[in-house]
């Protein structure tokens, strides 16, 4: 609950509309809470719970001010707001009543336009409310008398002091319906009750305020005054006489006596005027923290500063190193910072802040600002004021990308262009970049630009009225110096004009004037007048608007710079990729992270909203971390996620590679891997469950291969990838374009312990991976088979579908052969496998056994899936149309090193099985095959080495091409996948269901429209079906033709012509079957089986079928370890493999 509500806070935390810089949504429509927080400068924990129209009556002052209205006091009409811990009142500019004291006050009411504590009223912490009484009133139904804890620190003193202190008591009349008033009062009661406990905090905070000391009677003052900054030790900058500090102090003392001090201060027009004339030194810190609202942060957690220092004491960080470098160079002209005392304070405040807001850490210029603050306030006060600055007053100024600074420079430039077009034209013509001059003004809040005394005057107003003050002052500076600036034609001249202006701010603005009054006006006064009168049109909202307008451009600039830099800083691996590829990788990497974060954000907001509605709000302790980094992810905004977890990685790949897109809309389980890795991915699984959506993109697949790739790339074993990891990983695949490299890489991926050996399971996984990668078809340059072998004009690269299918189909065959060969060569003890080039005859003898072994390994999953026969039969339809197989077979036979077709036939036949009664036989044959082939014996471990793997791959043209071209080419780094090319359904899968169906498009189309899941599942099963049906049809022919085929092989004959004919025949048959199936949709299962299976075939096939089922049993056990999750994926691919083989055979012999 706590976390959720924190998130709400974050989301709504736009204390200042400008902070909405961070949140795109709320940019344009800041939430009510954020506006509320912004108006009263309240912490993000506060939300507007109740509000009601009311009239505030302040009793007549007991002191000197205002004779008139003595009897009634001051009255203001406005709105009363209640939040969890605050009671706030504010007038609106128009509601200012006649009875108020001065006419000029209206100028001030609207200055912040709701962006700060403007207008008249108060912001009382509920803990500062001592008593609320209901009064009887004739005018209103409800009138409340509120007594505050004003002067609480004196309260503790002896009774005799009490009489000096007049209780602060104000009256509020509520104007609303009775129920509304009652609701408000109930809320107030509740709030007061829950805040009773905070009075001690209040006391502590208040005791550090100088006003408490100031208002004490003289005889009490021997007590140590609260810390009002280094100025108390080292003198405040400037000449106090010239600053008329004593007079100001007297005025403030009077004001505070009448209107309450620090947390119980009531703002009346005089308050704003007093600020405009400059704060007295010892009250400056307190008024800064009050007007900026940082005092409310301090009230929430008065010990945070000390606690932070204790907590992190002795720890080191990069920020601390950076801070150390600058400590001696922060306002070095001020004596306080030439002393250990001053330096120590500066160090502690900066360090503490860098801990609580590690995202910002430390930025040069913060040292100057904090140094300035420390002259007037205590460390703790400066610490919280720095928070308020970074989080809401100048958001993004000090972030790691400094986007706030750059953005405000753009805004400033646009304002100059609008308000001073002539000067702007001149700047453009002279090619002077304004921000070169103005950036330091904003970044250091003029502290580094103007003499300190004047910079502090600017700050006085800035903390009340907000960031627009920086713009107003900047514009005024340019306006005043306009003439001279028009003469300056380069950066240097421009800078020196302004430099000399700043150095003469204390001089008379009109030295030659006859009028002594005019002569007395200093340049600084002139500056203030110009800034706030002439540029009064610069408001909070106009700044906000302009920020919105420029935000994107600024962020894009930063991001392109960051991108350039990041790409350049990638290691030597990156040289293997082209600049475009690197750029695209970068974009994809951060794009995925950003989008995921946004989705998370939205989701969490949604959850929070739900949570919120289901419970009442509870005031919570302030968490400093709540205040920053609302929306990260976008690189330009500062520290963003730069780590990609596994799910993000899947999404990342799915945008580039067809094979990385899930076949089914549901995420497959991922158990095996997690189990094997001891929960390596357990956290990921959880994430999966909570947020399913993958945005607009396709759902990424989850396959063991992806996990392997992820782990391989995750060189630091941190379960997360950096951009560097991704680039290095990609460079190994796509970088060299060298087949050996790719083959090696693929081998390494499956060599778990790095011993150069891949065991039985590894081989299976490799083949699964191959099938996984190819299931949507192969890409890259695939040379057509030897033209001589090529049956007809419809080469592989032809435009028609049939050739494409045939490639994919052939690939299934290749993978099947791959497995078989792997096992052949893996077992060094097997006499038949000793030599790479085998006597055909010998192999024929051995083939049956080996085939069964291979089959066993290939098929097991398939059987696991389609356990009952009915299921298996579902997809028979898909099976019997292996159009391309003749060619594939022909091609394979073409390879001298290749195995005789007969062999393949056998393997296909192994997959056949239809009847339950075959089980017995299966078991028998399983035992036989185990006996016969050591490779199958689980107790007889085997492995292949890299050279073997290479040899096996290179023995097959298609595999070779796969590694040479299509695997690397399957990563579409730059262009990505067209959205149309990323179907979520299985329609584009090269599985048994789509494979080899010459006319299968009809089926596919039908399936594609339907639920993708079923299509995917069917695809896997279809592989089985294929095996079964093909096997059935073919098996009868097998033995009969075995010898014939063998002869053909030996002769190395060119069976092209004949194959062609056969193919045509084949095509007809499957075509018709398929179309009927398509028409019937899901109902086609039974039909298809019946149609494709001929009874005569069944008999022949039973034996093979039995073997296949053996395989199943065995294989299930094999695979369990590898990727049970994958049940669908892994099994599917295995099945496909088998199917391919089966189909190939079937076609050839069918004819």
């Amino acid at each position: 609950m706590l976390n959720l509500s924190n998130f709400v806070q974050k989301a709504q935390q736009l204390l200042d509309p400008t902070q909405s810089l961070n949140i795109t949504d709320s940019d344009r429509n800041p939430s009510k809470a954020s506006l509320f927080q912004s108006q009263f400068r309240l912490p993000s924990s506060q939300h507007p719970l109740y509000e009601i129209t009311a009239e505030l009556t302040i009793p007549p002052p007991n002191a000197t001010q205002g004779e008139r209205d003595r009897d009634r006091g001051y009255q203001y009409a406005g709105k009363l707001h209640l939040s969890e811990s605050y009671l706030c009142f504010s007038t609106t500019p128009s509601s200012f009543l006649q009875s108020a004291s001065t006419s000029t006050s209206s100028i001030f009411t609207g200055q912040t336009h709701g962006g700060g504590p403007s207008g008249n009223g108060f912001t009382f912490p509920l803990s500062a409310v001592r008593r609320v009484e209901r009064l009887h009133s004739q005018n209103f139904q409800f009138a409340l008398a509120i007594t505050t804890w004003n002067g609480i620190s004196q309260d503790a003193a002896k009774d005799k002091d009490r009489k000096d202190l007049k209780e602060q008591r104000i009256t509020i009349q509520l104007a609303g319906t009775r129920p509304a008033c009652e609701r408000f009062c109930d809320g107030l009661k509740k709030g007061l009750r829950s805040n009773v406990g905070n009075v001690s905090k209040l006391k502590k905070v208040v005791s550090e305020c100088y006003s408490e000391y100031l208002l004490r009677t003289e005889d009490e003052k021997n007590a140590n005054p609260p810390d009002a900054g280094l100025g108390m030790l080292f003198k405040y900058p400037g000449d106090p006489k010239k600053l008329r500090d004593r007079a100001k102090m007297r005025l403030w003392a009077e004001y505070l006596r009448d209107n309450g001090r620090n947390l119980t201060l009531i703002r009346q027009p005089t308050f704003h005027k007093l600020i405009r004339v400059g704060l007295p030194n010892r009250l400056r810190g307190e008024m800064w923290e009050l007007s900026s609202g940082s005092i409310y942060l301090r009230l929430e957690n008065p010990t945070l500063y000390a606690d932070t220092l204790t907590k992190f004491s002795g720890q080191e960080s990069l920020a601390i190193d950076e801070i150390e470098k600058d400590l001696n160079r922060s306002l070095p002209e001020y004596p306080g910072f030439q002393s250990e005392e001053g330096i120590g304070r500066l160090r502690r405040v900066l360090t503490a802040y860098s801990w609580v807001n590690a995202d910002v850490g430390y930025c040069q210029a913060m040292n100057i600002v904090v140094a300035a603050l420390l002259i007037y306030m205590s460390e703790s006060q400066a610490f919280f004021l720095l928070s308020a600055l970074c989080d809401r007053l100048v958001p993004g100024y000090y972030s790691t990308t400094m986007y706030g600074t750059l953005l405000d420079q753009k805004v400033f430039e646009s304002l100059v262009e609008k308000t001073m077009p002539i000067l702007w034209d001149h700047l453009v013509k002279s090619d002077v970049q304004l921000s070169v001059v103005s950036l330091p003004w904003f970044l250091s809040l003029y502290i580094n630009s103007m003499p300190l005394v004047f910079a502090f005057r600017v700050l006085d107003v800035f903390f009340v009225e907000g960031p627009k003050v920086l713009f107003q002052v900047g514009l005024a500076i340019l306006r005043i110096n306009g003439e001279e600036l028009l003469d300056a034609t380069d950066d240097g001249a421009f800078i020196s004009v302004l430099k000399s202006y700043f150095s003469r701010l204390d001089e008379s603005a009109h030295p030659k004037s006859e009028n002594p009054k005019l002569r007395a006006v200093t340049r600084f006064q002139e500056l203030m007048v110009v800034a706030f009168k002439e540029f009064s049109g610069i408001t909070h909202s106009s700044i906000t608007e302009s920020r919105l307008k420029n935000k994107d451009a600024v962020l894009n600039n930063i991001e392109s710079f960051a991108k350039r830099t990041a790409i350049r800083n990638l290691g030597p691996d990156s040289k293997l990729l082209s600049a475009d590829e690197l750029g695209a990788l970068y974009d994809r990497f951060y794009g995925v992270l950003y989008e995921r974060q946004q989705r998370d954000h939205i989701l969490q907001q949604e959850q929070a909203r739900r949570a919120k509605s289901s419970r009442s709000r509870i005031p919570e302790a302030h968490h400093p971390s709540d205040d920053h980094g609302i929306e990260k992810g976008r690189v330009g905004l500062g520290p963003s996620t730069s780590l990609m977890d596994y799910d993000a990685f899947r999404e990342f790949l799915a945008a580039m590679s067809k094979w990385a897109i899930s076949d089914a809309p549901t995420t497959p389980r991922r158990d095996n891997f997690g189990d094997k890795q001891g929960g390596f991915y357990s956290s990921l699984r959880r994430a999966d469950a909570s947020l399913s959506p993958w945005g607009t993109g396709p759902e990424p697949a989850d396959h063991e291969f992806l996990q392997r790739l992820f782990r391989k790339w995750d060189t630091g074993s941190t379960s997360a990838l950096t951009l560097q990891n991704v680039v290095s990983g990609m460079a190994r695949i796509k970088g060299k374009r060298d087949i050996m490299g790719t083959i090696n890489y693929f081998f390494e991926l499956h060599d778990d312990d790095g011993d150069g050996k891949v065991d039985r399971e590894g081989i299976l996984r490799m083949s699964e991976a191959l099938l996984f990668l190819s299931r949507r078809g192969l890409e890259g340059t695939l040379s057509p088979p030897n033209p001589a072998m090529n049956v007809s004009g419809d080469g592989l690269n032809g435009g028609s579908d049939a050739p494409g299918q045939s490639v994919n189909e052939r690939f299934l065959g290749s993978v099947s052969a791959f497995i078989r060969r792997c096992f052949e060569y893996a077992d060094p003890d097997h006499p038949h496998n000793q030599n790479a080039i085998q006597d055909v005859q010998e192999r024929l003898d051995a083939q049956r056994l080996e085939d069964s072994a291979a089959e066993e390994l290939v098929n097991p999953d398939a059987f696991a899936i389609g356990d009952d026969d009915e299921d298996e039969d579902d997809d028979l339809l898909a099976m019997d149309s292996p159009t391309g197989s003749p060619r594939a077979a022909a091609k394979r036979s073409d390879h001298s090193a290749g195995e005789p077709p007969a062999l393949q036939l056998n393997s296909s036949s192994t997959g056949l099985r239809t009847d339950d009664d075959a089980m017995v036989r299966r078991r028998v044959s399983k035992a036989q095959s185990e006996r016969a082939n050591a490779a199958l014996d689980p107790s007889n471990p085997l492995h292949i080495t890299l050279p073997t793997f290479r040899m096996v791959v290179l023995a097959d043209e298609l595999l070779e091409q796969f590694f040479e071209s299509s695997f690397p080419a399957s990563f579409h780094i730059i262009e990505g996948l067209a959205s149309s090319a990323t179907p979520t359904s299985a329609s584009s899968l090269t599985t048994f269901s789509s494979l080899g169906m010459g006319a299968g498009r009809a089926v596919n189309a039908a399936l594609g429209g339907g639920p993708g899941a079923s299509a995917g599942g069917r695809g896997l099963r279809g592989v089985l079906d294929n095996i079964v049906t093909d096997g059935m049809r073919v098996a009868a022919e097998v033995r009969r033709r075995m010898e014939e085929a063998q002869k053909e092989l030996e002769k190395n004959a060119l069976p092209g012509q004949r194959n062609d004919e056969e193919e045509e025949e084949d095509e007809e048959e499957p075509g018709f079957e398929r179309s009927s199936g398509a028409g019937k949709g899901s109902a086609y299962r039974g039909d298809a089986e019946r149609r494709s299976v001929r009874s005569s075939d069944r008999d022949l096939l039973t034996g093979a079928d039995a073997e296949a089922s053996d395989t199943i049993n065995r294989s299930t056990s094999n695979i369990e370890g590898s990727g049970g999750s994958g049940a669908s994926d892994g099994n599917g691919s295995t099945t496909k493999n088998a199917e391919g083989a089966g189909k190939v055979m079937g076609v050839e012999f069918d004819g």
Partner: protein, 234 residues
């Protein structure tokens, strides 16, 4: 480097930017060049500091407008603002800190890709006084190396020189502390600036203002040289 009278030699200004990792001594190099001074604690540069200094060549006078940028990493994104239109760049690394050379290489690459074409780049390894090299420690007779007898050098001259040659950069090893080789860097840059790029004043519309701005420079010189000491941008 003092003004050698008002010789009628042609005078032109050159915008030069200093880049490099934090604390490699960029500001100190400038301070040494401009004021022949060295400070242990210099005010930090917010954004960038602007200083000027003249450099007399036999045939002409070059006036350097030096932009000394902040070294902190996050200020890097502001750098384009400062190296824009620069005709020369000093990329500085600390020869006791190998990472600073890496960073310097990044800056070189950035400049080569993003700055004005034909920019003259000098790679400068600073803090030679911390090594045992005679040249560096000999300069002003200051004691070598903070570590006493230890040689803190971590980047060999060869390594940096090779890189500089590959990239076509001027290369120097300097000590801002002793002053060794500092003036030479700027003189070499002044000499390397092609005559042509001096004549074409930078920026649009600058041509007609050239004469006027020249006058102004003379007027401003006094004030600016004074200002140069505090090294603040404005």
């Amino acid at each position: 480097m003092a003004d050698s009278g008002n010789a009628p030699k042609p005078s032109s200004s050159v915008k030069l930017v200093l880049l490099g990792e934090a604390a490699v001594g960029k500001s100190s190099l400038v301070l040494r060049f401009v004021n022949n001074d060295f400070q242990e604690n210099k005010e930090p540069t917010i954004g960038a500091a602007f200083l000027t200094q003249k450099c007399n060549l036999p045939t002409r006078t070059i006036k350097f407008e030096i932009w000394d940028t902040a070294g902190q990493e996050r200020f890097a994104s502001l750098a384009p603002m400062y190296y824009r239109n620069a005709q020369a760049a000093l990329v500085v690394y600390d020869l006791t800190k190998p990472t600073s050379l890496v960073k310097a290489k990044h800056w070189v690459a950035e400049l080569q890709r993003q700055a004005s074409p034909g920019i003259v780049i000098a790679l400068v390894g600073n803090k030679l006084d911390l090594t045992n090299d005679e040249a560096g420690s000999g300069g002003d007779g200051e004691s070598p190396g903070v570590d006493g007898e230890g040689d803190a050098r971590k980047v060999t001259t060869d390594e940096a020189k090779t890189y500089a040659d590959e990239e076509g950069l001027l290369f120097f090893e300097t000590s801002a502390k002793t002053g060794y080789n500092v003036t030479e860097v700027f003189t070499a840059i002044a000499n390397a600036i092609p005559e042509t790029s001096l004549k074409t004043a930078r920026g649009p519309g600058a041509a007609h203002a050239a004469a006027r701005s020249e006058e102004q420079r003379v007027n401003l010189n006094g004030a600016r040289d004074q200002n140069a000491k505090d090294g603040c941008a404005c």
